[in-house]
Symmetry: C2
Subunit: 336 residues, 2 copies
DNA sequence: CTGTTAGCGCTTTCAG
DNA sequence: CTGAAAGCGCTAACAG
């Protein structure tokens, strides 16, 4: 209860609360002398305005929410870095919410965020969410929202992603160039846009290179790493096993790695592996691994920047409604 | 301005605001009938209480702050996961602040947090901070605070870390057992407790195994990866270059990796490398790398649990004032 | 240039 | 069991 507030300052200076308030906000209708006195005392007493009083009064919290499936994943870690940097620059605070890819959590978080706790939201949808009414509701509350990476196509809001189609295409071409005849595509939860887009790139690349598309080579993976491991092992055990694997996300590459190893297959001799991965060190640690690296940090920054444009009521160009940033094919050595 | 609040509900139900408020908090002095009516309407209208009004009134925000050097680092990502999980369980919100290892940022963040924005703080100090007055001030404000990983020894607050001495010892013994005669220790910014503790373990292990400690083999590294790279290259170029490297943090291992490569030295033939790393995949990707993995997720959980004990005014056992969790030496193959 | 006052949405005495 | 009223700390009309 020793907290110093406007009242404390006002009393000590024999001024009214409003004068002190205005002095601190450097209002032009306060004399320089008074301002100095107020500032001096405020500094001396380490005055820090109560953020919640301000938020209540102004109906704005200078806080944004970042809602993501998980953070123990290089992509999201880097994205958060980018987001936090922009937020700090703008004087905003960042709340983190993890959905663990669970629909129920995403739902309750979304519901809660309608309370006015935040001025804006950066969201990457969870893989379990088929239904997105909760997001529509949020949008209807007029809370600015930007999707990043795992976007919700059905909602009209700015989106920032990688060039998923293009990089799916590149990855596949890469495997074909390495001599693969039969390439498996490991797909992340199939209601995610990224999995779909990358799949389309994969298909197109096959077509353009005279390879037949085979349904059996599209492996629908889940969030359960054990299950995925078994699934991949099954694929590798089959009669006409693939000689190339394209993992659409990092943890599927890891599962593939184990699956190959435990099946007595070596990478890249028996099976060539290319994967999305934001682990910059992966190809360093293992030259035989080709990765597609997303500009995660940049994606975070761009998404945040977009959100702040909305918060500042600045217009957003139509071509920026869906920003697609280029990913990079990272290949340490040619392993022909 | 379409937000539904207590007034809205009260009006529609011909009840007073206070009755509605009490009904929603399930107060025993409200009739079951009224409660049901209120709850029903609240649900129908998607009522969400304004968090800032509550925080202002109750002088408590159900929010904690996590202040860390960076998030694009597996240790902190995992720690955040642990923290967030506990927080969500307790119905708390999590604010993230990154210091980028800069003292000035840590200072201004600490200052701000004295405003009452959060009920408690989880902090990992930045490597640039020699001075910790700002943290003392925070403590004097009686804001519960728990240090994790990079702790501040000088402040009397609960701490959660790994067994840094022990694992420094283990890592060194490991290198000695691999046959190293001359082991370099790459130390992170020297005012960090973790670097010191690990160094002590290193020294002790040398002593216990009849190796002389050489000052020149303790390399004081910085936060600048380029600089570290050059530093390590210099060490490797010297006349009596080390045949073993113990990297006290992950990014120093990566720098070593590059430095060895570019010096024409191979790992582990010429130089054995052991490093702290929370990249579970590192030894998988490269079997020659031995890592010490911290239980990052657990550290986050324990630190958060401790903080909530403080928030709930529960006593903390003296032996828990500094929790040291065991790290694991992760070694894929014996590379003798 | 400064002060008075109302009110943001909520909880919580205090009255009935 | 329900209502009236005060007040958390701050901002912003409105007065002077």
């Amino acid at each position: 209860m020793d907290s110093v507030n406007l009242k404390t300052l006002a009393k000590k200076l024999n001024l009214s609360i409003s004068t002190v308030s205005r002095a601190l906000r450097d209002s032009h209708e306060i004399s320089v002398k008074t301002k100095q006195k107020v500032l001096a005392l405020a500094k001396a007493l380490n005055y820090e305005p109560n953020p919640y009083a301000g938020s209540l009064r102004k109906q704005a919290s200078r806080t944004i929410a970042v809602v993501i499936p998980e953070v123990a994943n290089n992509f999201f870690s880097l994205a958060i870095s980018g987001i936090e940097e922009i937020a700090q620059l703008k004087g905003y605070h960042v709340l983190i919410y993890l959905t663990h890819d669970r629909y129920d959590l995403e739902l309750s978080i979304a519901r809660h965020l309608a309370s006015g706790r935040v001025d804006g939201i950066l969201l990457s949808v969870s893989s379990e969410s088929n239904d997105f009414l909760h997001l529509v509701e949020l949008k209807n509350k007029n809370i600015p929202m930007v999707f990043f990476d795992r976007v919700c196509e059905e909602i009209d809001a700015p989106k920032v992603t990688t060039d998923d189609f293009e990089s799916g295409y590149q990855a596949t071409v890469h495997l074909i160039e390495m001599g693969c005849k039969s390439i498996a595509y490991l797909m992340i939860a199939k209601n995610l846009s990224i999995g779909q887009k990358r799949l389309e790139g994969y298909k197109e690349a096959l077509k353009d290179n005279g390879h037949d598309f085979e349904e059996r080579l599209v492996i629908n993976c889940s969030n359960d790493k054990e299950v995925n491991y078994e699934l991949i092992k099954g694929v590798l055990a089959g009669a006409n096993r693939p000689d190339g694997i394209f993992a659409s996300v990092e943890h599927l590459a890891i599962a593939s790695y184990y699956a190959c190893k435990d099946s007595g297959l070596s990478i890249p001799e028996d099976v060539k592996l290319v994967s999305f991965s934001n682990l910059e060190t992966a190809p360093l640690l293992n030259p035989s691994l080709t990765t597609i690296t997303q500009p995660a940090y940049l994606i975070g920054k761009e998404a945040a920047t977009m959100l702040f444009r909305m918060l500042e009521k600045k217009p957003i160009n139509i071509e920026d409604q869906h920003l697609e940033l280029k990913s990079m094919l990272f290949q340490r050595e040619s392993t022909a």
